[in-house]
Symmetry: C2
Subunit: 580 residues, 2 copies
């Protein structure tokens, strides 16, 4: 295992041995480690001092299911704080196959480019591919495959990343080679673009899987893990059948579905865009459409899908809950075909569908486009890719859209737009959004399936903190979030899996310890960066939304207790950066 | 003396007695006091929790020269930190005549408006004047005078403030009733606009001047003060003759004149826009043009002017160094008439000429407009007032312009664009810009006339700190900055003046103590707000500029020593804000 370090300024690539203490950590934890030791917290996110980290987990390619997530991270141009965003797809697996735990991209290309980092079994090199400049994600992927082989894993940015938009993501190819898996949040595509890097292409590496320390123990632990996944209704049935869109019905019922620019928590046409309708539509159209699709090798959950048009030709893969909600109900759009087209276009342009959805919703809320105007929304999404001034505003996300257009009602925390778990209907999410170092990020702790009174503001913060710690642990192991419910029954199994693979003796609390350590690093970075504040936008405490007439009203002192030193202990001390 | 408190939400106006401890402080100190005690540092700058403070000094209308500056302050939508911006004009005098040390505007108008706060001798009231909506600063002033009388003092915002642009200022009428004096920096016009307030109209109050505690001592102290002003070349000759534009030549010679989007420190056509040329042009055109104009009652410096067109008709008053530089050399424009038209238009639209100049320069640097294209610049300034999307981007200032257009080279600190003292040519300004709680604000400590090696990066921070403290003291007494050089010979005279007016016994260090206290409050607010960082943009340390091939290279540890607790003592403790 090693770390690949790429200096875009000098074009030098070095292979470094895995540092001490990195053996059993990956993903989000490595992002935190690298940022806290190598990146001045007050540096400019799109400058030469920021570093882009791509990292996989210590169980990638070990045979453990769902362990090949890829984390991307850097100081975020959207939140100005630390950012980790992870995705499925095949890059994590290919990096592991290449023996890479992480790729660290530093500096900034001075001229030429855009560049492709190509990691083949024979060499790692930076290749200028001028023809990629300005290309959409899908076209760029075709060009990359033609150049570097069909079976390589690709991470690529679209025009949004090249335009340095704070809503730009990094797009990863899935098991079909389609670049539909996104490290979408926080503008990491812009960080990559600022470095002069258009794509990372890895593999295909076909090295034999490394020897496992204790194969018998691993087989047993995996069997137990698979049993738990099978015994959890969510992973056994809901995800493979409806995908993430299965959440739309329950969330709508709770009043947690952002509707028409966060002015309501349920959508009268929710039934038209539900997971059930989505599954039926995919099934009835046939062709290349598919439910129960796996996005990465080793996936046993299969929440992904391929959404086809009426002729059975793929429009986009996958079509997921967050995208459906933010580009559907949040825009007053109730048509899955329109939403799928918006999703395809957003991917091609290279922007986060959530951030773009929030920004478009704000534009509609300001009366600049009618709610429900799918054609208008498509035209604006196109403008993002073209880099018109309005397109650039929208592509920079909710906070910039608000500032430019004079909209003070901005659905964002720490500059990042809200995902589709409206915290006034699902009040456990208040703590998630206000307190996650990532800003408004639902994945930091999803609460709508938890056994709690979702319409009560008080009393959820301590539980939420535990959940954020567990999720941070999962993200730090490269595990898919969707097996959290299964592993929740026996978190110590993660330690068994790690010990069996690596021959180590970590204790049953390893998952939680790792998560806690990671959050502490993230917190320390954000404090040093001045990234804040830890609160929801003011309008959410004032504007009650239908159907339940609720505001976001978690008690301030309770929220403040989240970071109490008694729980966390001392935060890591970051290096002293006199410059820049 | 009292404080007028205006709640825009409830439309309630209350007259409060001057709080204990406010007797001898004003301006910037009162902004800091109100913000630190009444405004949650993490509130939204354009939300209901922010408060706009208008404050005068304790010597206003006492007969002390140059003591009627008006400070405006609030949490800034531009820097996200504390902001005080002061101006001349007649509002400070009229507020003092009305017995008001400060006006505090809180809340946010829920409907109707825009509103005018009218403070006449008979009543204080909020008046909705729908016809003012969208009006330029000059037209709005005409309407206000027609409505409320020719001799009232006016503070008004333009479309930029109504559009909530972070570059919007508040414009104050001068002794001729022309709204050309600006609290320009930091977006205070947007704060006013967000509250639903278009204008504040005060007076004319003609109450007799309050009794002075010791008239004989005051006469003596004023005589000494006037003598010092007369004995200082700057105030005796340069300011009344050339205005602030007299600085252009010396600053250009130092390599400190921002030229073509901060790519050079001197301008080959500087001679065409110098203070000397300006004076001669005003003199030769005659008519209503004027040099040696006083902007506020009690001014003995008379740095202001009225710039006429070829027919002697006023184009703009005043035309000052910062505006000439930022809308001239920084845009590659060498024609005073064009610059004056840009200035007039910026005032009418209601944006800060510095912030707009930086933003326009960036646009030119990005190749979207040619350097030197005055007609194009005028068209874009017009767009700001029209609220086109590009206009809104530019009106939001340098940082937003950079983010939207994908420009990473942003000449700004803490989100505020650089004024016309390029710190690579005048390196004493590095500390000013990096460390002032205001962001890149030259007025926090102007160093180009100081006796130092302006091209050496190291060794200026301690001096700069003393200067910042003194300036903060001046700003907190409502004194014009331009008498700093005179009073610098005997700072204790400020205590004599105060004691003579108020019958108090403050010590000779009062000016410095007040300045220090104010900076400590500002620092505490910014730390709580997360406003930072304390450094220059990265490009200024990397890009050497002609003619002296210099970078901004003050040593990091020296800059960090600025805020050392040994000097400042403990910072004030702000109230605990659980919400918002």
């Amino acid at each position: 295992m090693h770390v690949l370090r790429v200096d875009m300024t000098t074009q030098k690539i070095t292979c470094e041995p895995l540092p001490d203490g990195w053996e059993l950590v990956g993903g989000r934890a490595l992002v935190a480690k690298v940022l806290c030791s190598e990146v001045p917290p007050q540096c400019e996110p799109l400058g030469a001092y920021n570093r882009l980290v791509l990292a996989v987990g210590p169980l990638a390619r070990s045979g453990v299911p769902c362990a090949e997530r890829l984390s991307a991270g850097a100081k975020s141009p959207l939140t100005q704080g630390i950012k980790e965003s992870n995705a499925g797809g095949v890059l994590g697996y290919q990096m592991a196959a290449a023996g890479m735990r992480a790729i660290i991209i530093e500096g900034r290309a001075v001229h030429g480019g855009p560049y492709v980092l190509h990691c083949s079994p024979s060499e790692n090199r930076l290749v200028p591919v001028p023809g990629l400049s300005g290309r959409g994600v899908y076209a760029a992927t075709r060009i990359l495959k033609a150049e570097f082989g069909d079976n390589a894993a690709v991470a690529v940015i679209g025009p949004a990343g090249e335009f340095l938009m704070a809503g730009a993501g990094i797009f990863i190819t899935d098991t079909d080679g389609v670049p539909g898996r996104a490290c979408g949040r926080g503008g990491l595509g812009a960080v990559m673009g600022a470095k002069g890097l258009k794509a990372v292409v890895v593999g295909p590496h076909r090295a034999p899987r490394p020897r496992t320390a204790d194969p018998a123990a691993l087989r047993a632990a995996i069997a137990e893990f698979l049993g738990m996944i099978r015994d959890t209704p969510q992973t056994a049935h809901a995800y493979p059948t409806y995908g993430t869109a299965g959440s739309l019905g329950p969330i709508n019922a709770l009043g947690g579905l952002p509707t028409r620019n966060f002015t309501a928590g349920s959508f009268e046409q929710a039934a038209a865009v539900s997971g059930e309708v989505l599954r039926d539509l995919i099934a009835s159209r046939g062709g290349q459409g598919k439910s129960g699709h796996r996005c990465m090798p080793g996936c046993v959950v299969k929440c992904s899908n391929v959404f086809p048009d009426a002729d059975g030709k793929p429009v986009v893969a996958p079509l997921e809950y967050e995208t459906i909600a933010m580009l559907g109900p949040n825009l007053g759009i109730a048509d899955l075909d329109t939403i799928a087209q918006l999703n395809h276009l957003a991917n091609d342009v290279g922007v986060d569908t959530i951030e773009a959805g929030v920004a478009l919703g704000m534009l509609m809320g300001a009366g600049r486009l009618a709610f429900g105007d799918g054609r208008g929304a498509l035209a604006l999404m196109k403008e993002i890719g073209e880099g018109t001034v309005l397109g650039r505003v929208l592509g920079n996300g909710a906070a910039i859209t608000g500032r430019v257009l004079g909209i003070t009602r901005i659905p964002a925390v720490k500059g990042q737009g809200f995902p589709a778990h409206e915290p006034r209907g699902i009040k456990g999410m208040i703590s998630t959004y206000a307190l996650s170092p990532m800003g408004a990020d639902h994945t930091a702790a999803v609460t709508f399936r938890a056994d709690m009174d979702h319409h009560r503001g008080a009393g959820h913060t301590a539980f939420n903190r535990t959940l954020q710690v567990r999720v941070a642990g999962f993200d730090s192991l490269g595990m898919c979030l969707f097996v959290t419910p299964a592993i929740g029954k026996k978190p110590a199994l993660m330690a068994d899996l790690i010990n069996a693979v690596h021959g180590t003796g970590v204790g049953p609390e390893y998952l939680m310890e790792l998560g806690k350590e990671t959050l502490k690093h993230e917190r320390a970075f954000n404090l040093a960066a001045g990234c804040g504040p830890d609160r929801l936008p003011e309008f959410m405490a004032e504007e009650a939304i239908p159907p339940f007439n609720l505001v976001a009203d978690a008690p301030g002192p309770e929220l403040e207790s989240f970071w109490e030193p008694d729980f966390w202990g001392p935060l890591p001390v970051l290096p002293r950066w006199s410059k820049p």
